[in-house]
C-alpha cells in the first residue's frame, strides 16, 4: 500500500482521523482499489515543523500557523510561494480563540478583562512551543491593542498580567487542554474554538461551558505539500489530492463536524448553529507572521519581555 504521511498539529487529532479514513476510501474507489494508508502525526505545531525540517518524511504538513510552513520553505522543502498553491491561502479551515470554563462559569468569565481578575487561573500553552498558544497570545494582544487609548505598552501590560495568572505552560495545545480537562487545573482555558467545542460538547457536557469573547482572532491554520519529500516518495499526486480533498464539500463537512470553521461559505452556513458569531481580526492586521514572529516570539521578543525581570 502507498503510504502518505501528514504531519499535523495538536488539536487536529480527531479531525484527521476521519479525513484520513474517508480520503483513503475515496482514493481506493477512484483508483481501482489502490490501497492507501494515510498516517498523521500530531504534536505542538513548532515541534512538528522542526521534525520535518530535520528530516521527518512528511508528504504534507497541516500546521497551526503559516510561519511554521515558511520555515520549511526556508530550507527548500517546498516552494516559497506555497501559500498561493491552494485556495483560500492554503487554509481549508479557520478557527478562533475562545474560553473554556468550568460548568456554570463559576468565576463569571465573559471577556478578556475577566481573565486578569484576582483568583482566576488561566491555562494556555507555551507560545514558544505551541502554535495554538501563539494564536491565544495574539488574540489577547490584538484585543488589548483595540481598547480605547491602547498603546503597545498597555497591551504589553495586559499580557504581563494575563500570564501572571497562568500556573502551567504546557508544550502543546492538547497538553494544555488536558491540564484543564483531565487534571482539573485552572478556571479558564484559552483554546482553539474546536478544542473548546469538543471539550464542552463531547468530553464533558456537564463539566464545561464555552465562552466566546466579543472580540477575538481569526486563526488560519494552513496546509501544504512538502514537495521535495513527496517527489522522493513518489506520492506527489496523492499528496495534492489529499489536500484538495480538504477543500471539497466532503472535506469541509468533516471539518465542520470536528468544529473547524469551513472556508466554503455554503458549508459554513449549514453549521451556523455551531459557530458563534463574534467579531474577529486576522493575523495580517497584526503585521503578518514574519513580523509578528520577530517582534513577539523570537528570542528576546515581547513574549520574553513579559517574563523578564
Amino acid at each position: 500500500a502507498t503510504t502518505l504521511l501528514n504531519v499535523s498539529y495538536d488539536p487536529t487529532r480527531e479531525l484527521y482521523q476521519e479525513v484520513d479514513r474517508t480520503f483513503a476510501a475515496q482514493w481506493a474507489r477512484t483508483h481501482g482499489g489502490a490501497p492507501v494508508v494515510v498516517r498523521t502525526s500530531h504534536g505542538g505545531s513548532g515541534a512538528q515543523a522542526r521534525s520535518v525540517q530535520e528530516g521527518a518524511p512528511a508528504d504534507v504538513v497541516t500546521l497551526g500557523l503559516a510561519y511554521d510552513i515558511d520555515m520549511l520553505a526556508a530550507v527548500g522543502l517546498l516552494p516559497a510561494n506555497w501559500q498561493g498553491l491552494l485556495p483560500h491561502n492554503s487554509t481549508p479551515f479557520t478557527s478562533t480563540i475562545v474560553f473554556l470554563v468550568r460548568k456554570g462559569n463559576p468565576k463569571g468569565i465573559h471577556d478578556w478583562p475577566d481573565l486578569v481578575r484576582d483568583g482566576v487561573q488561566v491555562i494556555t500553552p507555551n507560545p514558544k512551543t505551541s502554535g495554538g498558544a501563539r494564536w491565544n497570545y495574539l488574540a489577547a494582544w490584538g484585543w488589548a491593542l483595540r481598547q480605547p487609548g491602547a498603546t503597545p505598552d498597555t497591551a504589553r501590560a495586559y499580557l504581563r498580567s494575563l500570564f501572571a495568572h497562568v500556573p502551567v505552560l504546557d508544550t502543546g495545545a492538547r497538553g494544555a487542554t488536558n491540564s484543564f480537562v483531565q487534571r482539573g487545573t485552572g478556571d479558564v482555558l484559552l483554546a482553539w474554538e474546536d478544542e473548546a467545542l469538543m471539550a464542552a460538547r463531547d468530553i464533558g457536557p456537564d463539566q464545561f461551558d464555552m465562552v466566546v469573547p466579543p472580540l477575538t482572532i481569526l486563526a488560519e491554520p494552513p496546509v501544504a505539500v512538502v514537495e521535495r519529500n513527496a517527489k522522493a516518495h513518489g506520492t506527489l499526486d496523492l499528496a495534492r489530492a489529499y489536500l484538495d480533498f480538504l477543500f471539497t464539500d466532503a472535506g469541509q463537512r468533516i471539518g465542520a463536524k470536528h468544529y473547524f470553521r469551513p472556508v466554503t461559505p455554503s458549508i459554513l452556513a449549514e453549521n451556523r448553529a455551531t459557530f458563534a458569531d463574534t467579531a474577529t481580526f486576522d493575523i495580517a492586521s497584526l503585521g503578518g507572521w514574519t513580523q509578528v514572529q520577530k517582534t513577539h516570539f523570537a528570542d528576546g521578543g515581547v513574549f520574553d519581555g513579559i517574563y523578564a525581570r
Binding site: E14, R39, P57, R174, V181, Q182
Partner: protein, 271 residues
C-alpha cells in the same frame, strides 16, 4: 530504643515512604487502566497502532539490550582486566550518558544524522534515512541505556578477580571461551541487573526518543510515545492500559532476575 514500638514505628516509616514515593504512581496507572474494566483496557491494547507500538518497542528493546549488553560486557571486561593509557578517560566516557539529559541524548543524533546534521542529508539521498525512523530511535535508546551493563558489571568483575579466568586460560581456553564459560556465569547476577536496567530504561525511554521519532503512529511510535498520543487523544483508559502493560513488562524482567538470583543462590553462587 524501646524495641517493639521502635521496630513497628520504623516499619511504618519505611512502608510509608515506599508507599508514597514508589507505589502510589503505579497504583494510579493500574487504576486508570482498569477504570472501565479489563475489557476496555484489553481493547485499548488491540488497536493496530498500539500493537505496532508494542512491536516496535520490543524490537528496539531487544536490539538495544543485545547490542549494549554485548559491547557493555566487552567494555567492562576490557576496562577491568587490562590497563592501557586512556583507560580512566574511557571509564568516564562510559559513564557520561548517565549524566546527560535525555533531550540532549536525542539532540546529538539530530546533529549527526538529521537533515541539518553532518551526514543526514547524504544518508537520505542514498535512501537510508536514520532520523525519524526506527534506526534513529534505536540510536537514541542505545545512547540513553549505554552505561548500565558496564556500570553494574565493572564492580562485579573487579570483585570476582581474574583467578578463575586465568585458571581457564591455563586449561587452554581462549578469550571467548573464558568470557562465555567463566566470566559471564560468574558475573551473571550483575549482568542480569545491568540487562534489567537496560531493558526497563529502553522500554520506557521518552525524552530522547521523542526528539528523534517524529511521532508517526504505526511507524515510529514506541509505547511511551503512543501512551502520550493516546492520552492527548482523550483515550485515557487505553493510555493507562498501555502504561500498565509497560510496567508489567518491566516487573516481569525484575521477577525473572529474582528467579535467576534465587536459583543461583541455591547453587551457592551468591553475587
Amino acid at each position: 530504643m524501646s524495641g517493639r514500638v521502635g521496630r513497628w514505628g520504623f516499619a511504618a516509616l519505611v512502608w510509608g515512604m515506599v508507599g508514597m514515593m514508589v507505589v502510589l504512581p503505579p497504583v494510579m496507572v493500574f487504576a486508570g487502566a482498569l477504570a472501565h474494566g479489563l475489557r476496555a483496557a484489553w481493547d485499548g491494547l488491540c488497536d493496530p497502532d498500539a500493537l505496532s507500538a508494542i512491536r516496535l518497542t520490543l524490537l528496539i528493546t531487544a536490539l538495544a539490550v543485545a547490542i549494549n549488553s554485548f559491547f557493555g560486557v566487552m567494555a567492562a571486561w576490557t576496562l577491568t582486566r587490562f590497563s592501557f593509557p586512556g583507560r580512566g578517560l574511557a571509564i568516564v566516557l562510559v559513564e557520561l550518558p548517565l549524566s546527560v539529559s535525555p533531550v540532549v541524548g536525542g539532540l546529538v543524533w539530530l546533529l549527526v544524522f538529521g537533515t541539518q546534521g553532518w551526514w543526514g542529508a547524504a544518508l537520505e539521498r542514498w535512501g537510508y534515512p536514520v532520523m525519524f525512523a526506527p534506526p534513529g530511535i534505536l540510536l537514541a535508546t542505545l545512547f540513553v541505556t549505554f552505561p548500565y551493563v558496564t556500570r553494574t558489571m565493572m564492580p562485579m568483575l573487579r570483585h570476582m578477580g581474574r583467578a578463575q579466568e586465568e585458571a581457564a586460560v591455563m586449561l587452554g581456553a581462549g578469550m571467548w571461551r573464558v568470557l562465555w564459560h567463566v566470566t559471564l556465569p560468574g558475573a551473571r547476577a550483575a549482568l542480569l541487573s545491568g540487562v534489567l536496567m537496560t531493558t526497563a530504561r529502553a522500554m520506557g525511554e521518552f525524552g530522547a526518543v521523542s526528539v528523534v521519532s517524529g511521532h508517526i503512529p504505526g511507524l515510529t511510535e514506541t509505547m511511551p510515545l503512543h501512551i502520550e498520543t493516546l492520552y492527548n487523544g482523550y483515550q485515557t483508559v487505553a493510555a493507562f492500559a498501555m502504561a500498565a502493560l509497560l510496567a508489567l513488562m518491566a516487573m516481569g524482567v525484575v521477577a525473572v532476575r529474582g528467579l535467576v538470583e534465587r536459583t543461583a543462590l541455591r547453587m551457592g553462587k551468591i553475587a
